[in-house]
């Protein structure tokens, strides 16, 4: 009996040791497109404050679905403005903490250095068999990609060639492995790994990709989460965000 109790105690303390709220740390759920920038910002933040940041990446839709089911995230860095607002309306986020941390830029990218010119003409030629986009229902960069093709009047002809990644990282990987000749990805990903050819999609072809951050209810009592959000607005963080190919909203 004593042995069983000891074993139960050991299991219990192990589980508690993995409970995220007890340590000096914060958990961030970030849209996949922001991976490289988020890692750099988190590393800088950790070095300066000593607080640990746990990063989880996924499509905004996937992360949001997890948050509605009580995922232990303190902060949500979405790739759109709609889901953080929805979280606030649903009582999942702390009101008044929402802000735009980055404006996403879309790029049409190919691992082939000769495929894409600076006008994106390849979209009109249709000289390819597979074009990768992120799932438009769950990933804002996928929605923007569809808007661009519609604005150019090529959506109907390209549509049968579209393959979908569950998030923007998988989309990039489809194109990087060459299985799809090209794909609509985040400019941040293109800048991360030079090579291939790409077209910066003009912003008038799609609705702006406003990426909003919000403090979640789970992180309301976690001062490290609030500190991280404040740090996200600091000049250091902003320079990292801009370096990764994002724009920032003009100061009001």
């Amino acid at each position: 009996m004593r042995r069983i109790l000891l074993a139960a105690l050991a299991v219990g303390s192990f589980l508690l040791g993995h409970s995220p709220s007890l340590a000096a740390e914060a958990s961030i759920a970030a849209a996949a497109n922001f991976t490289a920038a988020a890692q750099e910002i988190a590393a800088r933040f950790q070095a300066q404050t000593g607080h640990k940041i746990n990063l989880s990446f996924g499509s905004s839709g996937q992360l949001y679905a997890q948050i509605t089911q009580g995922a232990p995230f303190d902060v949500f860095l979405s790739a759109d403005a709609a889901r953080p607002a929805q979280a606030e309306n649903a009582g999942l986020a702390v009101p008044g903490t929402r802000f735009t941390y980055a404006i996403g830029k879309l790029a049409l990218w190919s691992a082939d250095p000769a495929l894409i010119d600076d006008q994106g003409r390849v979209l009109r030629n249709g000289d390819f068999t597979h074009l990768a986009i992120a799932n438009p229902a769950a990933a804002p960069y996928g929605t923007a990609a569809v808007e661009v093709m519609k604005a150019l009047g090529v959506y109907a002809s390209i549509s049968p060639k579209i393959v979908q990644g569950e998030n923007i990282i998988q989309t990039y990987q489809f194109a990087a492995s060459g299985n799809a000749e090209l794909g609509f990805v985040a400019l941040s990903q293109v800048l991360e790994a030079p090579g291939g050819s790409y077209w910066r999609v003009p912003e008038n072809l799609h609705a702006p990709i406003l990426q909003d951050a919000v403090l979640l209810k789970a992180g309301e009592q976690n001062r490290f989460a609030a500190e991280f959000l404040a740090y996200l607005k600091s000049p250091q963080a902003i320079s990292i965000i801009e370096k990764h190919g994002y724009a920032l909203p003009r100061a009001k």
């Binding site: 068999t129 597979h130 990768a132 979908q164 569950e166 060459g178 299985n179 000749e181």
Partner: protein
Amino acid sequence: MWQAIWLTLQLAALTTLILVALGVPLGWWLARSRSLWVEPVAALVALPVVLPPTVLGFYLLVAMGPNGPLAPLLAPFGLRTLAFSFAGLVTGSVIYSLPFMVQPVRNAFQLIGDGPLEAAATLRAAPLDAFFSVAVPLARGGILSGAILSFAHTVGEFGVVLMIGGNIPGETRTLSLTIFDYVETMQWGAAHALSAGMLVFAFAVILITMLIARRTGTPQT
């Protein structure tokens, strides 16, 4: 939704057919051969049981791509890649479900023992004849279990399809991917409907294989 169900059934049926054709001779060889290669080959076949589907999916994606080893075989058909296609999913599923076919078949053949086959030989049955008229009928329980498990395993496949499929409606958007999409986009009513169906299906499959095992006396795998 019906499109995804139909596609998944087609995928599972075709995969199972190929697996029966492939798995019965392979299971036979594994059960009867004294070659040193038996256990290494058996281990290779069993790999998908242990490997994360992401590992398998990743390697398949690379192997099927224009820079992969399969590219020269695809080029004559005018194909750049096997990913994002029904044929690609079938290929992935065959590899992924192979152990679920081979293992029960191998066990069934091993259980027959030498007796019936020696008896067939004394009656001057040619080896191939003995195989089809003695060994296969005696191992039918294992073959049937293997086929049912392979079918079910393919229906439930997610990781590999996610990694190589590209989510194309009617081509690679299977049932499990559809459920994933419903969950991601908060359409939980639809997700529930499909998931509950899968639950009933999975239970029925397991129950049926157990009943077969009981009737034919094949040990379960």
